[in-house]
């Protein structure tokens, strides 16, 4: 069995966001594998280590810099990596285009039986692209998964719903997206980081995967940081008195109680 994991390079979650010239500035910001994608990569490697798969391949859509994120996945234990890029993909709001590109690349990478990804990217918070590609590819999905078994031509997964969980089965090939309780991603060891440098990393253009990008459904017309807060109104006094005064303020001033 071959497993494909789609990943995205994102800012670390500690990153301070600044806007520069109408775009989000990446100046001085450390970029990582999207944390949820890292759970997906770890799961794929675990499946391979337990004999459930022969090959783990990672795929990303991203500029040259995203190659670093792929190397990280190779150092964790993935066997090969693919990066698709075209400068026309740099504009935000193009989830529909990204899904077309991803589906094209995944079509070219066939045959594979399991598609893994993080459930959401912590930067654009969209959770659209890989599911949309799965529909195009005609495979089922189980999203936001915290436990996964693969075998007998199917996946059995525990998925997070609003306020409860479900155990769900789906036939392979299938898409499963990872949530944070799925596993604990490993840190690559130094020998594995060295080894990763010799693993194959293939770069594809849109022409290579036979896709015409088309125009995006959305264009970004504005970007802003949240309005600055002026700081809290500190309620003074002994703790018990302050507590009573605070309750009163929430009732009479903020009117939230």
């Amino acid at each position: 069995m071959k497993i494909v994991v789609t990943i995205k390079q994102t800012f670390t979650t500690e990153a301070k966001i600044a806007v520069d010239g109408g775009a989000i500035s990446d100046k001085g910001i450390k970029q990582i594998v999207n944390p949820y994608d890292e759970f997906a990569v770890e799961q794929a490697i675990k499946i391979k280590e337990s004999g459930g798969a022969e090959e783990v391949v990672v795929l990303t859509i991203g500029p040259e810099r995203a190659g670093e994120a792929l190397r990280q996945c190779l150092a964790m234990g993935a066997d090969a990596a693919f990066r698709v890029w075209d400068d026309s993909l740099a504009a935000p709001g193009a989830w529909d285009v990204y899904a077309t590109v991803l589906a094209g690349a995944l079509e070219k990478m066939k045959p594979w039986e399991l598609l893994l990804a993080g459930w959401v990217a912590v930067d654009d918070n969209a959770a659209i692209v890989v599911q949309r590609a799965a529909e195009t590819l005609g495979i089922p999905q189980v999203l936001v998964v915290n436990k996964l078994d693969v075998g007998d031509g199917k996946v059995t997964a525990v998925r997070e719903m609003d306020g409860y969980r479900e155990v769900v089965e789906a036939p392979l090939p299938a898409l499963v997206t990872a949530d944070k309780a799925l596993n604990t991603p490993r840190y690559p060891t130094l020998p594995n980081i060295m080894k990763a440098k010799r693993k194959p990393l293939t770069v594809w253009t849109l022409e290579d995967i036979g896709v015409t990008a088309g125009s995006a459904g959305f264009t970004r017309t504005g970007l802003a940081l949240p309005p600055a807060k002026t700081g809290a109104k500190i309620v003074e006094g002994e703790p018990e008195e302050a507590a009573v005064a605070l309750a009163d303020l929430l009732h009479t001033e903020a009117k939230v109680i």
Binding site: K16, W95, Q131, R132, F218, G231, K233, I234, V244
Partner: protein
């Protein structure tokens, strides 16, 4: 005049809060013809209630089973039809699952988890948080067919009332090919019925300052008095004091309640990202330098174990009066 189709989620009787908010957004679009899609057991009964929200036509699928991607996507595709249509849904676990696939089927763009919407089909503008609320982007689409999911609690709930009985279009349960069939084999309900964080009006949240798993017991009475959901910081989850379902932040839930009470939470950027869009933020923390005070509206610098019980008592008195 544009056609707006709202996916309405329900429990067999009541309409989910996020869906009521989506109906409000639909009604606010001038001159729109508002239709709804209702799927599940009791769909007909829910459909009949929708006239009060300005819905003139309901696409109803009476369906007895658990949520299934193929059924929901197929039903939404039938309801959307061929022409121009704005499809709205609250950004719930169901919509998160079927909306992207619907976008592929209808070959139309989708945008998710938005907090503002203006304009009309052909020139719609939406605002949405990125980097978990550390920035907001505005996006525009000129598409005639569009799917938009709305962040729960980001939109006001409309007043329901009046309206005639909507026209009902019954849709048969869509056939799902075997290769696409997902089967729910077990539903795991939590031991205690907790209020869902994403739809909660009030959240009482604890961090490292609660000192241990038993520290959350200090917050429980206040949570109960306020009818609040219980949140936590990532640090408290990593310490194993509370289950990850409660985590608010960039790698947890993103919430926007009316009132967020942060108890013993320092306010790391990771946490602030998930809750900074709350309408009113209260911080209770011993450390006057804690960054949570920068984004809080009200604060008390003191030991939460002294403040919270007194605060709870005071709130209970206000509620009783």
């Amino acid at each position: 005049m544009s056609r707006v189709l709202v996916y309405v989620e329900h429990d067999g009787e009541a309409i989910r809060k996020g869906s009521r908010q989506a109906l409000g957004v639909a009604a606010s679009i001038g001159g729109a013809q508002v239709e709804a899609l209702v799927i599940g057991k009791g769909a007909a009964g829910v459909a009949a209630k929708l006239g009060a929200y300005g819905v003139t036509k309901v696409h109803a699928v009476e369906y007895d089973g658990a949520y299934a991607t193929g059924v929901w996507t197929g039903a939404a595709q039938s309801a959307a039809g061929d022409g121009d249509c704005l499809i709205l849904a609250s950004h719930t676990s169901f919509a998160r699952d079927f909306a992207p696939r619907l976008g592929a089927r209808l070959s139309c763009p989708q945008v998710s988890d938005i907090v503002e919407l203006s304009g009309d089909l052909g020139g719609i503008e939406v605002k949405r948080p990125i980097f978990a609320g550390k920035a907001f982007e505005t996006l525009k689409s000129e598409a005639g067919r569009l799917i938009v999911t709305l962040r729960p609690n980001a939109f006001a709930e409309p007043e329901a009332g009046g309206g005639g009985a909507p026209e009902i279009n019954e849709i048969a349960v869509p056939e799902v090919p075997a290769a696409l069939q997902t089967t729910v084999i077990e539903v795991l309900k939590p031991d205690t019925e907790e209020i869902d964080l994403t739809e909660a009006d009030v959240i009482v949240s604890g961090g490292i300052g609660v000192g241990g798993p038993e520290g959350f017991d200090t917050l429980r009475p206040l949570q109960k008095t306020l009818g609040a959901a219980l949140g936590s910081s990532r640090a408290a989850v990593l310490a194993g004091w509370i289950s990850p379902d409660h985590q608010v932040g960039q790698t947890g839930k993103t919430v926007s309640p009316q009132l967020y009470i942060a108890c013993g939470i320092s306010g790391a950027i990771q946490h602030r990202a998930g809750m900074s869009s709350s309408k009113c933020i209260v911080a209770i923390n011993k450390d006057p330098q804690a960054p949570i005070f920068e984004i809080a509206d009200y604060g008390i610098v003191a030991d939460l174990f002294k403040v919270v019980p007194a605060f709870n008592e005071a709130i209970a008195k206000i509620k009783a009066s």
